[in-house]
Symmetry: C2
Subunit: 149 residues, 2 copies
């Protein structure tokens, strides 16, 4: 993972469908050289795939919220994961330090929908209580946030 790899990943983060030759021209490599590095990054697991960026609002998922889960003692993370995986509205979930056990990010079509999802999640048997906030406006959403400065 050298400076060249990083520049390649940054280029792909901005546009994952950019041609290797194009990226190569930017970083000073030939197209095959760029491809080889991308292949290596994938093999190593640094790049885990390519995906599309979507506008939640346009896709009818304009209502975003965060739900903190307070779980029963001895709830296994795997159980939380399994339960949440059944909700298509759940975008991400992580166990966290602090009072809550997990934070869940939810995208719903509207407030009514969000409320319904919240109630269903709160009704999961391992959930003791929840605390939720609604996202007012996304200030920042980085494409490749996971890159060293």
């Amino acid at each position: 993972m050298d400076a060249l790899d990083e520049r390649i990943v940054r280029a792909l983060a901005e546009d994952a469908r950019r041609a290797y030759a194009d990226i190569g021209a930017e970083v000073g490599l030939s197209a095959p050289a760029v491809k080889r590095r991308v292949d290596r990054l994938r093999a190593r697991g640094a790049i885990t795939g390519f995906t599309v960026r979507i506008d939640p609002a346009v896709m009818g998922r304009g209502t975003e919220g965060l739900i903190e889960l307070y779980c029963r003692s001895r709830t296994a993370p795997a159980d939380i994961r399994r339960a949440l995986a059944r909700y298509p509205e759940v975008a991400s979930a992580s166990t966290v330090t602090g009072e809550a056990d997990a934070v869940v990010q939810v995208f719903a079509s509207d407030m009514r929908h969000f409320e319904r999802v919240l109630e269903r999640i709160a009704g999961e048997d391992f959930v003791e209580r929840t605390k939720s906030v609604l996202v007012l406006s996304p200030l920042l959403r980085r494409h490749a946030p996971d890159l060293p400065a």
Copy 2:
């Protein structure tokens, strides 16, 4: 945005570099038809781009945390945005309902790094106090969370 568009977006969400002909075979369209629909989705703003999925750990950003910001009265969201945009460690930030004014997602290389970022953010002049949690383990990270069920 019909059922076909949705299936195409789902396919791209799983692998944005998949060939149009390939996606077409799955949804029952020819390659040009798929391309035309993708172009339309981009034009409409439903698809905002293509990006790469990265493993934060492998990229040296294995420490994730969430920081709640409690801001001075009359702090404009734009000011928060401008300030946070200067931190490469900030992956996302949103204003929220509830006690806190904003929630910031940060990826750092390690605890020391996270602490440094937290202190710098806490030191921003519009920030009165912060409350932060560390992410223990990501349970779920959906590729295309923003799609209608």
